[in-house]
């Protein structure tokens, strides 16, 4: 029976090795992404699966997130007779935090899990071994295009989420609850600066990387790990979001 310290040491070593492998996997994916042949068709295909196929769920969640923010923001601000700040409160919250984080959650649930499951299935059915045996590098063929597609798709999805969420809050705040349309948009114009947009953009790019990296890695190391990918993505997105926010504030 190993001692407590023995077990702890073993656990620490295994996790350190795992982290090292995860980072090497990412480095390898980037290295292969820039080696010919550059697989433009596969990148476009994965932009479709990650971006276009997640669009409906991102729009839907964006609309309702914005509507809830409009509703909550209005009743909170009204206590201080500050309803006219609704536009700026909604825009800052969505552009800096909710837009990148929630759209990343939606993409993880919609596409990340499918990505991990697809690669896990390919691993189990020896399709990845088949690629190796045909002298095709599976990292270059399967992982690099997905990571590049994730880096391109996430900021676009986040931008769409931001726009529909701001209009969702507009519908509730202005159309239903009577906040002035002028103050809603002018407040937004006065309070939102380029740094807020940049912060949301950089977050969304990094979340795109986190989702595709983790889901591909977990799928590649199937079978025991594929189901962990979604939970790990959610946790990593929240942790990374905190660090990015603290740096970019």
């Amino acid at each position: 029976m190993p001692s407590f310290f023995g077990q702890f040491g073993r656990y620490a070593i295994l996790n350190t090795v795992g982290m090292g492998r995860t980072f090497l996997f990412l480095l390898s994916a980037f290295a292969w992404a820039f080696r010919p042949p550059i697989r433009i068709r596969l990148i476009v295909y994965h932009i479709r699966t990650i971006g276009v196929e997640s669009l409906s769920v991102v729009i839907l969640s964006g609309v309702f997130t914005g509507m809830v923010m409009g509703l909550q923001g209005y009743y909170s601000l009204r206590k201080f007779n500050a309803e006219n700040f609704l536009g700026s409160a909604v825009a800052l919250g969505i552009l800096r935090e909710l837009g990148p984080v929630l759209s990343a959650f939606m993409v993880t649930g919609r596409t990340g899990s499918a990505m991990a499951a697809e690669l896990a299935s390919m691993k189990v059915t020896e399709q990845i071994d088949a690629l190796y045996s045909m002298a095709v590098n599976p990292i270059q063929y399967l992982v690099s295009p997905r990571i590049i597609a994730g880096l391109i798709s996430m900021p676009l999805l986040t931008a769409i989420f931001d726009v529909v969420a701001i209009y969702g809050a507009y519908v509730v705040g202005v159309q239903l609850l009577g906040v002035s349309s002028g103050s809603y948009f002018s407040g937004m114009e006065l309070s939102v600066v380029f740094k807020d947009v940049l912060s949301g953009f950089l977050k969304s790019v990094s979340f795109g990387l986190i989702i595709t990296w983790i889901c591909c890695y977990k799928g590649f190391n199937a079978p025991p790990m594929a189901t962990e990918s979604v939970v790990l993505c959610f946790v990593m997105i929240l942790v990374w979001n905190y660090f990015m926010t603290s740096v970019m504030l």
Partner: protein
């Protein structure tokens, strides 16, 4: 052609290969037999470096493939064709595109030439006209034949077959064996078959090697095996539960 020298492989605490030595003759079909879990597939996957050994060497020609760089290894792998246990066709592509895949990826042939080669290859395995189907839409036997077409379309010098008849009924299994023999006569490849399909697999084999307890216990012709006095070989080919090989 292929020489395996003192090959060892361990997974966790399981020492699967314990010093395998084997020579595979060029142009002949060698079948590796052995019980389930004896390490036949593990040994097969070392032959084109899909797995790397803990120690030992695998020589293809005069090159030890366990020591090669990725680029050099890819050159060697182009000499191989592999028929995997479940065929391992790429699910997202039609059978036609699966067969065309290695040509598109590893050659500079024009699309018209690729089309011609794919059609020929599919016709050879009796799948002419089925190229538009996806792997999920065809039977196990058709998948194996498509896998064989994909492996043979690049005209490999060496073919590896990992339990080619697993999961097929006896008639389909026999037809796959006949197909392997026919393709061998046409393409003259060096074949390595992993199977426990006894005695059917003897009909397609020039030589047999028995893997047990992590080592090759006997190598010889089919005739040698049928009259072997080795108790493990006798037990295995006659399917007896009593003997030196542990059944459960």
């Amino acid at each position: 052609m292929i020489r395996v020298v003192d090959l060892h492989k361990t997974f966790g605490r399981q020492h699967v290969l314990r010093g395998v030595n084997l020579e595979l003759e060029a142009g002949k079909i060698t079948t590796i037999i052995g019980g389930s879990g004896s390490g036949k597939t593990v040994l097969l996957k070392h032959l084109n470096a899909l797995l790397l050994p803990d120690c030992g060497s695998v020589f293809v020609g005069d090159r030890d493939i366990t020591q090669l760089s990725q680029t050099a290894l890819n050159e060697v792998r182009r000499k191989f064709g592999v028929l995997f246990q479940g065929a391992a066709l790429l699910d997202s592509m039609t059978i036609h595109d699966n067969v065309a895949f290695p040509l598109r990826e590893t050659t500079k042939l024009k699309e018209t030439e690729i089309e011609k080669k794919v059609d020929e290859s599919l016709a050879q395995v009796g799948l002419a006209g089925a190229g538009y189907k996806f792997p999920a839409e065809v039977s196990g036997g058709m998948k194996k034949r498509a896998g064989l077409a994909r492996a043979l379309v690049v005209k490999p010098e060496i073919m590896l077959f990992d339990e080619p008849t697993t999961g097929l009924d006896p008639l389909l299994g026999k037809s796959i064996h006949q197909l392997i023999r026919k393709m061998h006569a046409t393409h003259k490849f060096t074949g390595v078959v992993v199977s426990h399909d006894i005695p059917e697999v003897f009909q397609i084999s020039d030589r047999i090697a028995m893997l047990a307890e992590g080592v090759i216990t006997e190598v010889g012709t089919t005739e040698d095996f049928l009259v072997s006095e080795n108790p493990a070989v006798k037990q295995f080919i006659h399917g007896e539960t009593e003997g030196p090989l542990a059944v459960l």
